[in-house]
């Protein structure tokens, strides 16, 4: 009897203590003392990301006397970790992520008028400023950019008797069929529509058929042009049979890119990290880069992406945040990092600095006119997730491209 009473008391005490702890400290960290800032950076690579940011932290601390607490998180986990921090009212001061509009919509971020030097804003490539602007205010400051282009294997092309890269979709299909005809496990076109970055693959084809995700403020996901594009992609898989096995279940890094790196794919949509991987690990693959083939006869469109370095509003951290951006956007900082990671600049001054790199020329020329996805709309964050998760099903044997896009359009409009 006495034992169980004592036992009950212990349980009660433990419970009360934890609940008490829960109650106190729940005001969390929405204010800081200005003596330190927390910076969360996504891990682009093992060798370069941490190296740059550790040095940056030292420089920053010397300049400002404010401690910079750095956390580098893998891209696979950063979404979950960020959510955990926000749920606990403990968001970082600076966050590196591939989306910003939802955070802006929740009123969590500083806009450029509060923390970004005016000269920097003027220097950032206008297309990126536009894409980082939500409801008239610039929140999504770009950290680096990348652009996509068509990579093709010159050995396979010459073996298949193809003289030049395709410029129209019909030529593209014909060329892919010729490469397939070579046999020996060769694939005409490596199409990655698996959950990793399917929206990027879809976007580049979509833009080159005169389509848009949004036009004039309205969603145009299921426009006639877009439906044609998705049907085209499905045909590549099901009718023309010029893609690798099961594009809906293929991601880039261990699927589409790896096939191209092994010299087994005629064409793939790639970007500068792929170039680096080819140079480092697969020097025997002979390839060239060309603009995307056009579906509607218009000029080739390039698709690009930036990630963001956004700042969370907290009492007392404005000055520290300002100093951060001032330092980061200095040419010797930002361009140093971008170069080491193998990406593209985000500033007009950076364009000039990178211009003498022959490998990047093909992208740099297109950067100012680059096509981006509508990242300035919080609804895009959800649309993107749906595309990533489900578009693979739409290009399979039993896929229905029109239905997929109609459902997507309905989803986007429903939440307006």
């Amino acid at each position: 009897m006495k034992k169980s009473l004592r036992w009950g008391a212990i349980v009660a005490a433990a419970t009360v203590t934890t609940l008490a702890l829960a109650a106190c400290g729940s005001s969390g960290g929405s204010s800081t003392d200005g003596k330190s800032i927390k910076v969360v950076i996504a891990e682009y690579s093992k060798d370069h990301t941490k190296k740059f940011w550790d040095e940056f932290a030292k420089t920053y601390e010397k300049q400002t006397g404010v401690e910079l607490k750095l956390q580098v998180i893998s891209w696979n986990d950063i979404d979950q970790q960020t959510s955990t921090m926000v749920q606990n009212n403990n968001a970082p001061d600076i966050l590196n992520l591939n989306a910003y509009a939802s955070y802006a919509a929740d009123g969590l971020l500083y806009d450029s008028s509060e923390v970004l030097p005016a000269a920097t804003k003027a220097d950032i490539i206008p297309a990126f400023v536009k894409s980082g602007t939500y409801k008239g205010k610039f929140y999504g400051f770009p950290d680096l950019s990348s652009a996509r282009a068509l990579f093709y294997n010159t050995d396979l092309f010459s073996k298949a008797g193809i003289a030049a890269a395709p410029t129209t979709w019909d030529e593209f299909v014909a060329d892919a069929k010729k490469v397939e005809a070579l046999g020996d496990g060769n694939v005409g076109y490596a199409l990655p529509l698996g959950p990793e970055e399917a929206q990027a693959e879809f976007a580049i084809w979509l833009f080159n058929n005169g389509g848009e995700f949004k036009d004039d403020g309205k969603w145009t996901l299921n426009s006639a042009a877009n439906v044609k594009t998705l049907e085209f992609l499905r045909d590549l898989n099901v009718k023309d049979k010029v893609t690798q096995n099961n594009p809906g279940s293929t991601n880039r890094t261990d699927g589409a890119f790896s096939l191209f790196e092994q010299g087994k794919a005629g064409m793939v949509v790639g970007f500068s990290p792929l170039q680096q991987a080819l140079a480092d690990d697969h020097p025997d693959v002979k390839y060239a880069i060309a603009p995307m083939p056009s579906g509607d006869g218009a000029e080739p469109q390039t698709y690009g992406v930036t990630d963001y370095l956004m700042a969370f509003k907290k009492d007392g951290n404005k000055d520290a945040v300002k100093a951060f951006y001032k330092l980061y956007y200095q040419a010797d900082q930002i361009n140093k990092w971008i170069k080491s990671e193998g990406f593209l600049p985000v500033t007009t001054s950076g364009l000039k600095e990178f211009a003498d790199d022959p490998d990047l020329k093909v992208y740099l020329d297109t950067l100012p006119n680059i096509h981006l996805t509508p990242t300035d709309d919080p609804e895009w964050d959800k649309v993107k997730l749906t595309i990533q998760q489900n578009i693979g099903l739409a290009v399979g044997e039993n896929g229905d491209p029109k239905k997929f896009l109609d459902d997507l359009q309905a989803q986007a409009e429903a939440n307006k």
Partner: protein
């Protein structure tokens, strides 16, 4: 008549036993080889992937043996100071968590096995229920809790969490072992003048050694391989354990497959060493003969 048959059957059985005993000497080890191959073949693949250049890992078509043999991946991993940090972190956390679990679970298991008390079922049920929560569900709350306690980004947070999540198993298995020991042994020890604690240490524990070995193995491995809680609670690179650190070898933009596998293989070694040291105690307990 019956004794004759009995003797005959014993003789027959003896002969059969001799036949099997002879074959046994090589059949069993052969079977053992088969078992070894069955459990090790994927890790052989991993070994060969670690011994080939990173670009060859995703070769199409793949080859079992490397086309180009290279120990670069191992060299890079072993000389990487970040890797040393990860290894040290994992060791600290796993060893500490294991010690805590054993020290805490043994008395609790003994008490629950021997004494019926009000709420015993509730206690045991509570213990099992804690196992039912997926760690992914709990990370947000864990983060908050340790943040409030000022323990975020410390070994202590990780050690306590790993210990708490693994007590259930240790408790259950040890409880089973304690229950199986006949009461007369304890009574004999008590008659000999042993205190309760003394009985526990000198008499009961040796008999439950297989259970303790299993509990140690289980807890160490669970703490050694834990990922999502470590990812959430630890922010400094210097404190990251192996599981989190190793994941940085392959990112969306840069894939060092051979290094990933080399590091993973090295990470397996401490566990196997620990197990090799204690596995002989998996035999023991009541069969040790110390009972009588």
């Amino acid at each position: 008549m019956s004794t004759l048959t009995a003797r005959n059957s014993a003789l027959l059985k003896g002969r059969r036993r001799t036949g099997w005993k002879a074959a046994r000497r090589w059949v069993m080890p052969l079977g053992g080889l088969g078992v070894i191959l069955f459990f090790l073949w994927p890790y052989l693949v991993m070994l060969f992937d670690a011994l080939r250049p990173s670009g060859e890992v995703l070769a199409t078509p793949p080859t079992f043996f490397p086309k180009t043999w290279t120990t670069d991946a191992f060299a890079q991993v072993v000389t990487d100071p970040a890797f040393h940090n990860w290894l040290r972190s994992s060791l600290v956390v796993a060893v500490a968590a294991t010690i805590i679990v054993i020290v805490v679970a043994i008395p609790a298991a003994y008490f629950t096995a021997r004494f019926s008390f009000r709420g015993r079922m509730v206690f045991l049920g509570l213990v099992v229920v804690t196992q039912m929560f997926a760690p992914t569900s709990l990370v947000v709350g864990l983060y908050r809790e340790f943040y409030d306690l000022g323990l975020i980004n410390t070994y202590a947070a990780l050690i306590l969490t790993d210990a708490a999540f693994n007590i259930a198993f240790a408790l259950w298995i040890l409880r089973g072992f304690f229950s199986a020991i006949p009461k007369d042994i304890e009574e004999a020890a008590a008659l000999d003048g042993c205190s309760r604690v003394g009985t526990l240490f000198r008499v009961m524990l040796p008999l439950t050694l297989p259970g303790i070995v299993t509990a140690i193995t289980f807890t160490f491995i669970a703490a050694w391989n834990e990922y999502v809680v470590a990812l959430t609670l630890i922010q400094d690179d210097a404190l990251k354990p192996l599981t989190v650190g190793i994941s940085s070898y392959v990112t969306a933009y840069e894939q060092n497959w051979s290094q990933l596998f080399a590091a993973s293989l090295i990470a397996i070694v401490p566990v196997v060493i620990l197990f090799a040291l204690i596995e002989k105690h998996l035999v023991g307990g009541l069969t040790a003969g110390a009972v009588k």
